[in-house]
Amino acid sequence: MRWQSFARRIRMLARSRDAEHELSEELDFHLAMQADKHVAAGLDAPAAEHRARLEFGNVELVKEDARDARGTRAIDETLGDVRYAWRAIRRAPLFALAVVTTIGIAVGLNAAAFTVFDAYVLRPLDVRDPSSLYIAAWVDRTGSVRNIAWTDYASLRRASAAVADLAALRSIAMRVRGGSATGDAVSASYFRLLGVMPALGSMLGGADGPTPDASATVVLSHALWQSRFGGDSSVVGQHLLLRGRAFRIVGVARAGFEGLFKKPRDFWIPLGALALLADSGASPALDGLSLVARLAPGESQREAAAAIGSAMRSLTVSRGASDRAERVMLLPHSSAIAPSVGAYAAYAPIALTFGLVLLLACANVANMLLARGLSRQRELGVRLALGATRVRLVRQLLVESVMLGAPAIVLGFGVAWVIIVAGVRTLFATLPPDLVAFVRLVPLVPDARVFAYGAVAALASAVAFGLTPALQSTRLSVVQATRGEFARLASPARVQGMLIVLQVAVATLLLTSGSALLRQTTRMTGVETGLRVRDVVSVESDRRWRAGVLRRLTASPAVAAIAGASVPVLDANLPLVDVARVGDTLEVPTQYNRVTASYLDLVGVPIVAGRGLASSDKLGGSAVVVSEAAARRLWPRGGAVGQTLELRPRAPASARDSLDRFRQARVVGVARDVVTPGGASDPAVMYLPASLQSVDCCLLVRARGDATQAQRSITADLDAFVPGAVERIDRLDTFVAGAIYPYRAAYWIALVLGSIALALTVAGVHGVISYIVAQRSREMGIRLALGATARDVLEVVLGRTARQALVGVAIGAALAMGAGRAIASQIQQMPALDLVAVLAAVVVVFMACIAAAAGPSSRATRTDPNVALRHE
């Protein structure tokens, strides 16, 4: 329809009463002229008029056709429907309010969840043409996925035409201006490839030659510039200390660009500058780089992968099997979490949970609309009898549904906005304070996509469930409809029953998950990590400053004892090695850490047999301490102390590790089991000797007095020594809190969702039972009149609810146990659901249902037979 003609129709509508009048006048004129003609031909006036009317035919039909021809009829009728629906809403405002609130809350919850999903997975990276970006990795002959080394990258750059550009990078974390920060060391092509412009100064650039740019220069992210430099516009040209080295700030990236990955990046340095930051000063091998590729226009992922693959194969053809390339994988990287099956699968349980709440809300609305559709049965029947077409009735009900859906959308967005704002506030308010510095959120702004999602969800639920009764009603014959009869199969009672069962099942499922998570949190809080964490502070420093840092720590009054470990305790996964008895085939995967002699004592792990490590044990030598679990598995009959074990590293040891310097080791002691992050529940652990000077990562300090105080005074002390010499200072209990936090958060979310689900279910049950009681008041009256006791009536109504609730609860519990097992198999440290959790949820949901039905049921017992029978 062209706009002008639409506008004319609207104008015509505005004066539709005039138009009606004009149409009548026009036709009257015609009849008069025709009659005049007949008079002129010799008829008398009444006969002429009669003849003219006969010739003309049915005037009303002509009017109808003329109205149709004007094209305003559809608009006219729809406006009529709107007015009619508005009157219906005004007649039952509480009903409308209930529907709008229910859909609004459910849509709001889902829009909020979708916003988070969208921000991380769907929203494309803020760079030029993100859809042609790929992350590349190569697979060696043994099937391991490998990152690339600088030399190969430099050769690949020249090799392939399928790729428009390549960039290499490696992430790096350190303290910047007193706070932790994550950055990327990038090749010169990086910013050019991404098309990211500076907000200030310039970006890192130039050409990637045979050796990487090694200048001590740094580009800051816009966020870091704002937060730690106060947006100082003279920052370009200033120097920034990174691990004690002065880096010249050459520019600030434009706002919005925060790297290519989930965790926002704070700064970028040239790849070659990694050597300046390396521990020993000697330049280490530049390997383990991530490769970013931009495909040439029109190039397919498969062709490009094949082209780079063959280049990589010919590069590595002369190397050993474990270093020879088999093929190259390209993974699309258009958003921070690459859109892959894995990303969607990880999100699925959350989407499912929120989706279930929406389903529940829809079931409620369907129930309400169904009950209403029933009470409007007669009205619809009368309209059918008066000649309304089915299409007309459906359109009317559709308009009513949309009028309920539209405000629900608005409410939904309000709810989503509140949830996001409150959620982020709550997150920062409840996070253990030491973790706040590590948490950076991408901006969570509901955008057009989220709006579309919410609008579609709200309208779809309103329309789908608004139309169900409409379709059901209009399928009836006129006679049945006016009597209020239904086809047997789709009888509303049956549909309502199924909806109740569905609701109860969903509520049970959600509450079961909630209570399982609660038990998990309490268990984790209660469980000892096996480590004395309360007063231990972990200091990560660069090895170049190790001697000075050690001197300061030893002198500090806040320090009671010092130990060292190669891998941060509780914060990172320990490396794995297969361990066996000498000559035995049984291999036990064992986590290992290199620690100083004082370590086990400092973190409070008792030696249960033999002795601990001693400072006299040769470094990287042959004395080891194993955990009880390791000892039990290797020597089930005991007597581990004094035995010799064999180390069988899985992959060729990297340059950084030197496990294969010794192949065999003697067990000097057995230590109590501890909990390690990311591992199984009782991991086999092995401790190898190291010295305070040689440990890779962390110095552990037992604080004298309050740990927070000690942490602060040590930080001040070391920062005064060399700014940037210390990368991180953390209390160990922070890590414990950090490990528990996700479960606590998940528990609260599950609890809130479960409560909403339960409330919806209770409201649904209450509504349906009230309705049924009202509907069947006549039957109840007759029963009571015939001598049924209140108890009998109660049994009829409550029995129905109890049966449905039982079925629902059983389905929900079964689903929960199935889902629990599936989740437990995906996520470590997540136990399968326990019976207590399931039982608790089942009892709560069942009792809630009975309670919801109790009110209306007791009303049924008080039915006065006289009143009920007179009512018909």
């Binding site: 004009e22 026009e26 015609h30 008069a32 010739e55 035919g57 002509v62 003329a66 021809a69 004007r70």
Partner: protein, 117 residues
């Protein structure tokens, strides 16, 4: 759409779809006319072969008006009564030219087939 005088059903002509529209447009090519005058004019010029069915005339007029090819104004009829006068719009004139061409082509083609086949 348009029927011949109902005295003899055998002379009834089934007109092609849209012919009434064309006739109305053509009738309005000159002076503005009201509905009755249009039907009279068609009847007159066709020497009573075509008698416009009133049931079709007014819906057709309103449809043409909706399409923007004709416009209506209230005026005073020959006999001094208020009547709704229709006239062609610019778009209507273009449409008339187009449809006249098509009509001429169609009748010429049909005529040729009838002569030569």
């Amino acid at each position: 759409l348009v029927s011949t005088t109902d005295t003899n059903p055998m002379t009834r002509l089934d007109l092609l779809q849209g012919t009434l529209d064309l006739l109305i447009l053509r009738t309005l090519a000159g002076d503005p006319r009201h509905g009755w005058a249009i039907s009279e004019r068609i009847q007159q010029l066709s020497q009573d072969v075509l008698q416009v069915n009133q049931g079709s005339l007014y819906p057709a007029l309103h449809r043409l008006e909706d399409q923007g090819w004709i416009a209506a104004e209230w005026g005073v009829s020959e006999l001094g009564r208020r009547a709704r006068f229709y006239h062609l719009t610019a778009a209507g004139r273009r449409q008339l030219a187009k449809e006249s061409d098509e009509w001429a082509r169609l009748t010429a083609a049909v005529g040729r087939v009838m002569r030569l086949a």
